[in-house]
């Protein structure tokens, strides 16, 4: 079975979530837990770094949809960064770039958060 893991880095008010491995219907609950943990703590400024993510399925994409509403209601956002072309293509097909800000690098995403402040 595909392996998947997440790790979180705090950078001021911003939390950077690193994804690694295969994000599919079986591993999606793990990312859900990560997000709900952050949301419960009131951490609404989230950058997701996709650098080490090899694969994302539709169930994996659903995780982002599950939390975005609540996060935006609280003046936060999920910004996506460092996607491989393959992963970006999957996001792109579904029209995610119309819904999420997607950056080339983690730094750009963090910078965007700081600009708003």
């Amino acid at each position: 079975m595909a392996e998947f893991s997440t790790s979180i880095k705090d950078q001021g008010n911003i939390n950077i979530v690193y994804l690694k491995g295969f994000l599919d219907a079986h591993t999606a609950p793990s990312l859900e837990n990560t997000f709900s943990g952050l949301v419960d703590k009131g951490r609404y400024q989230i950058v997701v770094n996709f650098k080490d993510l090899a694969y994302i399925s539709s169930a994996g994409l659903g995780v982002f949809m599950a939390f975005i509403e609540k996060i935006r209601e609280n003046n936060g956002d999920i910004k996506l960064s460092s996607m491989s072309d393959k992963v970006f293509n999957i996001f792109d097909l579904l029209g995610f770039p119309l819904l999420y800000e997607i950056f080339k690098t983690e730094e750009e995403a963090v910078k965007k958060f700081n600009e708003i402040k």
């Binding site: 219907a25 090899a54 539709s58 949809m65 999957i90 097909l93 579904l94 819904l99």
Partner: protein, 708 residues
Amino acid sequence: MIRHISAENLLRNLKVQLLLVFAAVLFILKLFFSPVESFGLILLNEALVISAVAFLLFSINDFISSGKFNLLSLVMNLGILNAIMFFFITFSDSILNLFYSNLGDKIKNPDLIYTIISFFYVSIFVSSLCYIFLTFKQFYFTGHKYERSIYFNTMTIFFLLSVSTAFLDKFPELSYINHTFLIISIILIGINSIRISWIAFLSKKEKLLLLILSVVILTLFILNLIKSGDDTTHYKILNGFSPALNNFLQLMMIYGIGYFSILFFTTLFHIPTAEAYDRKAKEVSSLQYFSRLITQVLDFNDLAETITDIAIKVCNADASWISLKQDGESRIVANKNIGFVDADSITKYILNESKPSLEKLEKTIYQLSPLHDIPQLSEKYSSLTVSILRVHSEIKGYLFAAKKGDSIFDDEDKDALNTFTDYASVAIENAKLLEESIEKQRLEKELDVAREIQKKILPSKNPEYDGLDISSTFIPAFEVGGDYYDFFEITENKLGFVIADVSGKGISAAFIMAEVKGIFESLSQTSLSPKEILINANQILRRTLDRKSFVSAAYGLLDLNEQKLFLARAGHCPILLLRDGVTQDIRPSGLGLGLNYTAYFASTLEEIKLDLKENDVLVLFTDGITEAKNSEKEDFGEMNFEKILIENSHLSAEEISNEVIKGVTLFSQNTTQHDDITLVIFKFKQKFNLFGEKEWQNSVLQSKTRVI
């Protein structure tokens, strides 16, 4: 069965009746021929007495062997009977004499009174002796029902011989016969008294009680034997009634002395090892517990309950609970005689705060001074021991046992718990494996249902249109992937089609798919605009889709008269147009259904119009094709896909489809298909034209074709 029982009852009644008859005859004999002196009468008297005693024995035997008696209570009864006999023997002189002197003056017929009294007196003794004899028999046969009964039977026969020759004492020259039988009887008593293995099965407490009882009873037997030989009123009555009875009394007393002196010493020697024996017995019974564990693996919660139950018994604890590691956290799965909160705080205290090494954990017996260590406990626990549940040296959890009050676990309790824990670990592991396999079966059932739904939802055959070659292929994945495609024959020239992929897998995806079918089926009849249909579909899906779910879809309308394709795409894979040996993505913008329900969805959705010409091939697919994996986990990819399409573009729709599937199958051999594969291909043929007009139109259109 009923007849058998009644026959048995009849036999029982017969014995009692015969007993009464013999007793009555004896009574009459005593009344008229007292004292008995002639040889013939003595013989008759003895025969009657022995017969009566025999039937009394039979009757009491029926009574005793019908019930199950505790051996210790039988010993107790022996003691009581002996005490009664002792009382009568000791005080026979004073009481009976008093009785006679008082009555003798007042009543005309003192002989009758004497006979009645002696009759009753004798009856008491005879009954007691019979009971004692049968109790010994019971002892003898405990543990070995029928084997070696020959010893006992031989002894009984010599008892009988000895008793029936007792009257010969009156004739000194013949008394040696009786004495011989008596001596042989005593030897046999000695042999039979060794059979006392039943005491081994008593617990230590019972053995101590038996030791005290046997001293008292032994003393009574000895006293009774000595006193019965004295020339007292008792002797006169009993011996006068029948020498056989006196002989019987002596034999029983000797038997009692022999048996109880051996019993006393054996018990005495058993006392030091009694505790070890008790422990062994407990180990044996815990083996029975283990077999109970094995039969209970069907339900995990039951098993956990049973384990705590047995743990309490195995190590003499007051409370027990199991803490299992689940998803990296310890969780209490069963608690017996202790509140969940208490169990939880003790567990946390032991495992987290004191952080013992595993070795220490398995060896330590904790002394808890509860008020000091864990203030929030509702009860006071004095001693605690922990065993580690492990399978293949992987730690699965912990089994705790605790004592309340002042008592404390000893090393043996700890060892017993550790041993038991090994078995418990295996049982827990088995239960988990079983649960998992049941869960797996359930999922497989569920997936069967999902596949069945999907099969019914997808079109069973392709529509037939002039000038259009259609092929559709669907290969389900093991876990239903949620692919859906459909055709809507709107008019004879207009064909609507949809391809969609529901997010997620399994039965939930299958249900959404069913709804998506319903939505497109009805919407396709209300509008000709793919964009409008997708916007409406998005609004309708709002009611069913949860936040995590969405549907990628592409809806198109083919107008065969006008040779045009109208298409809108809601997040689905692009549609491929294969024309003149090149493929091109047709990819109008659009969000997946269910990602946004505001006006934004409509504003991002684009509808395009495309002119078609002869031999154009339109390819609709889902990501099951491009994301098909090989054994190196590489994707099949768009490049491979397009290459096959281009190479085979001259073939029919069906043949192109077959080549693609062949390519994907070859690429992903030795791996399992993880997503549904859907491939729908339209190939435009030169439309057969009666008027020749169409052909001209086509050539004009051809120059205008625009590819996006």
